[in-house]
Symmetry: C2
Subunit: 326 residues, 2 copies
Amino acid sequence: MKTHLVTGGAGFIGSHLCDKLLADGHAVIAIDDFSLGTYENLIEAIKHEHFKFLEGDVANSSFWHQLAKDCPTNSIDVIWHMAANSDISAGVKDSTVDLHRTFLTTFHTLEAAKALGVKHFALASTSAVYGDLQSVLSEDSAPLNPISNYGAMKLASEAAATAKTSTDLDKLWIFRFPNVVGPRSTHGVIHDFVRKLNSTPRRLEVLGDGTQCKPYLHVIELLDAMMHTVRNSNEKINRFLIGPLGDKGTTVRYIADLVIRLYGTNAEIVYGNGNRGWVGDVPTFTYSTDKIYSLGWKPKLTSNQTIDKAVGEIVAELKSPVVALR
Amino acid sequence: MKTHLVTGGAGFIGSHLCDKLLADGHAVIAIDDFSLGTYENLIEAIKHEHFKFLEGDVANSSFWHQLAKDCPTNSIDVIWHMAANSDISAGVKDSTVDLHRTFLTTFHTLEAAKALGVKHFALASTSAVYGDLQSVLSEDSAPLNPISNYGAMKLASEAAATAKTSTDLDKLWIFRFPNVVGPRSTHGVIHDFVRKLNSTPRRLEVLGDGTQCKPYLHVIELLDAMMHTVRNSNEKINRFLIGPLGDKGTTVRYIADLVIRLYGTNAEIVYGNGNRGWVGDVPTFTYSTDKIYSLGWKPKLTSNQTIDKAVGEIVAELKSPVVALR
């Protein structure tokens, strides 16, 4: 049994990570400020005797000072930094959102790792660091010209973390996530569509022309990949893309059709113009997952199969009971 | 005549840039907080009628709010963001130095560009973004794993800037500098050696074994390259490495021998162990400057010729008159 600290532990991916670590027999300290996370996401975790939850803002150094007082040095084995703004569009409108929630959370969590004597650090990063790079994306693709503040502050986070490997960290894992879907998500295209149908069940407005095509990965597969990587990679800096099976992404049209079907409505779909949903959106990208495959991890679901599973889950989770009765 | 705003305008490179822009017939607004810059560096610039100096911290948003009140929208054509911590070693010891002086200066200057309606932005970046990447470095080299907080916060700055090209900026120039030397410098190996001889004229202690080998560029050539690039490049994001003539760097041994000779002492050189001067130091790197060559700019001096020139200048500038009388 090891002790894992999870920032953003009440959030979408963070809360699934807590559940997984507890199920694997570890002790977990989760931190969240409830800006996006919810208490409901931890409803299973809090039943566990080896689970501890702290409410706080990890971008605030005084939060960490207090924790360092309460927490013996070297008592935490791994920090999983999952706290971030996940609403890319919000960060494009106001740069300070990603500065604080995405970058400064990382900066101060890295400082905390040093203060707490934690040598192993896992960082949630993103395909958005590549911006509009038109090639099959791999770990070494360049140039890195993010087009959203979200992508920029994730790249900034990666940079701050790699610098710490020359002073404080023995091992760093950087995971560049594709679009991750599943229960407890707070943003994303499926989420948006279900919410829109909740308010207008006969009409679904889609941002862009629906040809946007990206790889989607289920959160359960993501966790499996991260666990496998942490167990099996041995470099000082371990950077991995994680993606679904095969090299095909899923179009927004596919998702729109499926959401309507599983929602049980005959809504008209109204498409917008162009393939860019909003400023900072990267309309199409393709992932090479050769590196993680060569480490012995392979996903079970293609991007479309992932969407098939996640749409069912998210409709079940979010579909308004009021609408359902109509 | 255009109006250029230069952050870090009283600093090493910033003050030379002000002189150059004024000499080329432009108006210049320089900003500096005198953390590293000096009034003496502006002694020529302040004589000029089209030069304006403002003392302030560009990482402080209230400084910019005041400036925006005093400054008509669209009255500034280009922002040159030169303000940064330039003492890499200081930033390794205390991460907040580079957070504030290198990254947050960039973040808030970018926000100011938006508020002031400035569409052209030039950013001083660095070879330190590559970390210890063992290949000939080009604009598209990857992965980017900086090993110092300085390099990390410069990469973070690049990222914050590229994101702004999807919303506020029409043109962005990112210059990755090698080691830049010349009058008015505040840090670096020549500087260190002269200062050491000022206190112990018979003994020069060198960090590392002296085999460290890096490309050095003279500040006057750097300015020439930046001006050429801004005039001649037409992408939205223009990233350029700037380096000296040829692909050979200069060893620390070469610099130590030359400093002693031009200082006029017969100091004993005492070398340390290993080729890494200090944590965060990148001992050797080689630059590809093919991209800027293909844009029609070529330096006049090799790295060794640059050092020959700069050592004379820096010894003349820094050699203690007290020592000289001994």
